[in-house]
Subunit: 383 residues, 2 copies
């Protein structure tokens, strides 16, 4: 017996109560029973996003919500700055260009967070910039950008901050209203412990006013239509009903545990993995500003990460992710968001060291699992 353990940075494993709720028979999306679920889910999403504004529900992947944000907030010809620090930063650029926006790319070394001064300089230089597109957590590198400062800067400049919170919301703090974020979005398959297929997006009052000025926002991703619908406890089109039933379960968990405790767990898991990886003798990609839902581990030059990944899967049952773009073959990404605990990670550290050595790497580490586990509990207690 060898259980498969999927520790990828999304999708993430599903808790049993969520899985069972996904198996429920269909209900109709225009009937009172479903409206009650939407109403309950709405409260949970507002708590999760830290906002008083409605959180709109889209039946799409997270990329759909990114497209919705760009097409509803900006008109062709407008200028935006994209913080490009990885694959998902690049995706912002692609989406913005498809929309016909002028894109100022603020390129950041993959593995590093944007420096707020550099963003400030760009905003000074290009006065026509109408918004900043950024990730809270860049899933391709495991970097956490300074969103509070970015939102703050945008507020001062009177421009729109658009934050892809796909691997951040429900994982590390990103309170929309408190930080003054204008548009925050996420997907269902990361911190929320659901299958992919739903995306969530919320707009500040300022952002909503801007959306009202935009023509040709798109038919499927029309945030004004969704905004009007959600106020009536509906979605504009037929939504992914069983995922919404699952979402109700998952959000109940967030409310019962409390966001703060979930963040604590995420932080402690992150410190545990980082400690373990260092003890194994491997290097971390993100040294300073690291996200709390995944950890990117560098492979030594000449050692193909895919070889390690393959042993991890075949021999130890651990499904991890490799690198994307220029990092393909060079890193391993350990996902530890959502329904993942310290024991899942302890086994993962063991499997990582063994697979690394079997793939030709050198590591004589001993006692690293216990020491990493100790860090988990120490971090929990200290926070």
């Amino acid at each position: 017996m060898k259980k498969t353990r999927m520790l990828t940075p999304g999708p993430t494993p599903l808790p049993e109560n969520v899985r069972l709720s996904l198996a429920k028979d269909m209900i109709h999306h225009r009937k009172p029973e479903f409206k009650k679920i939407l109403q309950d889910v709405q409260k949970g999403l507002q708590y999760l996003f830290g906002t008083q504004e409605p959180v709109l529900i889209l039946s799409s992947s997270g990329t759909g919500a990114m497209v919705a944000a760009v097409n509803n907030l900006f008109s062709p010809g407008e200028t935006v700055v994209v913080v490009e620090a990885g694959k998902f930063g690049e995706r912002w650029t692609e989406i913005a260009r498809e929309r016909g926006l002028k894109v100022v790319r603020l390129e950041v070394e993959w593995g590093e967070a944007v420096e707020i001064n550099k963003l400030s300089d760009v905003l000074e230089k290009f006065k026509s910039i109408k918004g900043v597109l950024i990730q809270a957590s860049e899933t391709s590198t495991g970097v956490l950008h300074p969103i509070q400062e970015v939102a703050n800067l945008c507020q001062k400049k009177g421009i729109i901050s658009v934050v892809d919170g796909i691997s951040a919301v429900g994982i590390s703090p990103c309170p929309m209203d408190k930080w003054g974020i204008d548009c925050l979005l996420t997907g269902s398959q990361k911190g929320l412990m659901l299958p992919p297929g739903l995306a969530f997006i919320s707009l500040s009052k300022k952002a909503l006013e801007k959306v009202k000025t935009i023509k040709q926002r798109g038919f499927y991703f029309d945030l004004l239509k969704e905004h009007a619908s959600i106020l009536k406890c509906q979605t504009a089109y037929t939504s992914s009903i069983n995922l919404l039933v699952g979402l109700q379960e998952s959000l109940r968990y967030f409310r019962e545990c409390g966001l703060k405790n979930i963040y604590k767990k995420q932080k402690a898991l992150t410190e545990m993995v980082r400690e373990g990886v260092k003890l194994i003798g491997l290097e971390l990609l993100a040294l300073k500003d690291y996200t709390w839902g995944l950890t990117a581990v560098k492979m030594p030059a000449g050692l193909d990460a895919s070889k390690v990944l393959s042993i991890l899967k075949e021999k130890y049952g651990y499904v991890l992710a490799g690198g994307q773009g220029p990092l393909k073959g060079k890193i391993i990404r350990i996902g530890h968001m959502g329904y993942v605990d310290y024991v899942d990670l302890a086994g993962c550290l063991y499997a990582l060291q063994k697979s690394f050595v079997q793939a030709g790497g050198v590591s004589g580490a001993r006692n690293f699992i216990e020491r990493a586990m100790d860090i988990y509990f120490k971090t929990l207690e200290e926070s």
Copy 2:
């Protein structure tokens, strides 16, 4: 004890094996296990669509696939004709206008199918027309349009036929290649017996060539990107994984039963409901060209359908749908597609008559349930 029976024209009830498969734990969408599922699903979808072309998979509602069809097949400024015979015909018009197309509306009385001569006349009159947008089955009225003839006509004229098969595919014959349909699409929550959240769309070679000439097809609904992905057993973005696992189950059922037998069952259920409704003394909305997945029943003038629907639900446990747009309050729609059998419908006929009388209608029908059930088996045997 009173079981709730949902007989709406989508979403539809889910078979147990589908529901249990939806509860499976997550797998990763870029790993071999998932690719195998996609490969298997692809064969099943091609069988369902009656096509040799790839069937593209979108994570969205059916409306998303309608948007994808319009935005990928036509450029702003091009002219299309829309067959508007109900709410979903109107939706084609809205989507086409949002895309900036010139729309020639061919309005058809709600409850009737388009006459092929009238469509032919329109195509003669407006030489600039590049495509026809139509429903196979108009879900708001229960009408079946003559798709084979429409596709044929489009072939002759060298224009693109775009068929919304949302309440037709897997319910009544609509073989894409045989009939020469250029673009056929459907959603997961009708004949396919799945929750909503997935949409499927396939393009003829001619249609694919046209897509290649279109700029700004959209970022999320980019059919060229999806076409390239599916050839590698992938989807362009993270897809609704658990729905795809459920789809594999549902398509297995189609292959095991055989499409012809499923159509037979659908036809027999339709004749059963129509017979029962007539015996109750109620009128059918679609007299001639009726679809096989739902039946729209007229309420006598002065009797509000919502009153009947409410009794059906509260007293008898039957969840049916009302009318949309101008038919609101005037009709009841009985869904009998997907995981619905003749016993479900027998109870529905009983409940319909009783609820109708309790809401103030007059019906002295007797023995109508047996006679309707007899029609079911007679139709099955004769077909």
